[in-house]
Symmetry: C2
Subunit: 347 residues, 2 copies
């Protein structure tokens, strides 16, 4: 039951017959210590298995070398890749990652912020649950730097790194627009900046391509995300919706899916109606999930630079930690259109 007490600086100091302070400076690599004693101290510390106590350290230094990473849902492949990238980049700079999951719930987000405050993290990278304001303002008050990722809430003035979903979707639609008369967009029913950006891109491309807005449609798919399901956007939701709306007689020439899972469900609905892709309907996804290239037909989709988003966010954050007064930075990274069979007329 006796938790074996950790080896402290005092223990090392006693062992070498010096003061705690000298040992501290020696191990920190500071001056005012002769090389000979430094070596002795290093050896003794290693022998005793000394490990610094980060809590004591941050209590006095005011820095924790921990950043908070607030994610809505790690099962979203894009966010999973983001987590990886952020963790790696942080580790490279000596920072650790405290992970908070909000499941799209404002209540959880509030608790997460509370945790971040009691922890006194040096900075935060967050995917905000939108529509609310008060949680994040507490971090502003505490002067803890925040970088928003993927979704922006410009009111707080935090740095932001995201995806230019509008340009991506617009490019995709324009690219395949030839001969299109009616286009549908299946979008998740969440009022977050990314869905709105995709819708805007979709509409813009319809206009620029001379496709009649009246004959086109934006369909909001209710998903079980908010319910805290561990899986994001299951294909089922989109499948149901598509199956209800699409018949062999009545269907668009082009369907854009707000994410690749939706595309999966829509593809199934189309098959069930006896409609062929790309013969009768062109299909474009979003996200380039690993399976996209292996569907039949292979799915045309937008590849998101998850890794670059993550590393850029960390870079922004650490630079701001170093210099809090630097001006706000914002970056939108372009997704890359990956054209495959599902959008090729010739096929």
């Amino acid at each position: 039951m006796v938790r074996s007490r950790r080896v402290t600086l005092q223990d090392v100091a006693d062992a070498v017959g010096l003061s705690v302070n000298t040992v501290s400076r020696a191990l920190a690599g500071k001056s005012q210590v002769s090389e000979r004693t430094r070596d002795t101290i290093r050896a003794e510390a290693a022998r005793l298995g000394y490990v610094p106590n980060s809590h004591a350290r941050s209590l006095v230094s005011g820095r924790t070398m921990v950043i908070g990473l607030v994610i809505t849902n790690p099962s979203n492949p894009f966010y999973a890749a983001l987590i990886s990238a952020v963790e790696q980049r942080c580790r490279r700079s000596g920072y650790s990652v405290l992970l908070l999951v909000t499941e799209e719930s404002e209540a959880n987000e509030g608790e997460a912020v509370q945790q971040l405050l009691t922890y006194g993290v040096d900075g935060v990278i967050a995917i905000p649950v939108q529509h609310n304001g008060d949680s994040w303002s507490r971090l502003v008050a505490a002067k803890i730097p925040v970088v928003f990722v993927s979704r922006d809430l410009p009111d707080f003035g935090f740095d932001f790194v995201g995806i230019d979903a509008e340009a991506g979707v617009a490019e995709a639609v324009e690219r395949v627009a030839a001969g299109i008369d009616r286009a549908w967009l299946f979008e998740e029913d969440l009022r977050i900046s990314t869905t709105e950006a995709r819708i805007a891109g979709f509409r813009r491309a319809l206009d620029s391509s001379g496709i009649d807005q009246q004959r086109s449609l934006v369909i909001k798919v209710q998903t079980r995300r908010a319910a805290g399901a561990s899986q994001p956007w299951r294909p089922d939701d989109a499948h149901q919706m598509a199956a209800n709306l699409i018949t062999a007689q009545n269907h668009p020439d082009l369907i854009v899916a707000g994410n690749d899972y939706f595309a999966l469900g829509i593809l199934k609905a189309l098959r069930e109606c006896g409609l062929s892709v790309p013969g009768d309907v062109l299909l474009v996804g979003y996200g380039d999930h690993p399976f996209a290239a292996y569907l039949d037909p292979a799915l045309t989709t937008l590849r998101l630079p998850a890794e670059e988003v993550g590393t850029t966010a960390v870079d922004y954050l650490l630079e701001r930690v170093a210099d809090p007064s630097s001006p706000r930075r914002t970056q939108l990274l372009r997704p890359e259109l990956v054209e495959r069979g599902s959008s090729r007329r010739s096929a």
Copy 2:
């Protein structure tokens, strides 16, 4: 540049004209404080925006209310779901999660353990990178409880929660074995306990089903995992391998894939040979990724209870934190065979 000093207990104490200690006890809900003063203190603390400093707290209490979560790769959907489940369960019990990613590298694993030690986490949930020993023994020495997840290293005597991959694969093979003459298993080339369990289950089922081991095959697919790619097991690797081995003339009756991504690549290779699934070859995956049900044909696969693994691991860990002397516990959860079109002879 002046980091606005946090509100401390002292500040609250000064505001209400009481001692720090009384304020501490009042907010902690301990006795020795009258209800009236407790209310005053609570109100004042809220007004000033007092947030406890977890570092000061854990410095004196010796507990951190943080657990370490060591994951090889968050982009693996099973692990992503695991992260979600662990974080939720921890949060419910007042614990936070420090996330460390090892990318299957022993060096990273060593650094992760170092971090866990300096952080003084209360416990660790880890997917170990196998073949090495020394990192984990440091946690044993520090008396920090560990629960291994998904892959076991029994030597350390840590609690373990995993998947009974052997039974799962054996059941799957036995279930579809009727009329099978030759079966192949595509497995990842990593010497970890789960791949070995799947191989064992595969072999056992061949025997029990009277299928000739000589005519069957276990194929090791080299993947780019260890290289630190953010995507795990890309379908490409299995696709290449399958394309090299399979011809219309020479193919097995049944293919089992070590994971659903492999199944995706194999399916493509079969299509390219003009072989039909399930007509010519039956195909069984592993993992029940979200796309599995939406392939054409829908993929028969094993559904893994990721959430249950995660919550059980947390429960084991917290119980051990409470009572370090309790005996070692081990649990293997059964995957569930989800039969779909890819294994149905009738289709």
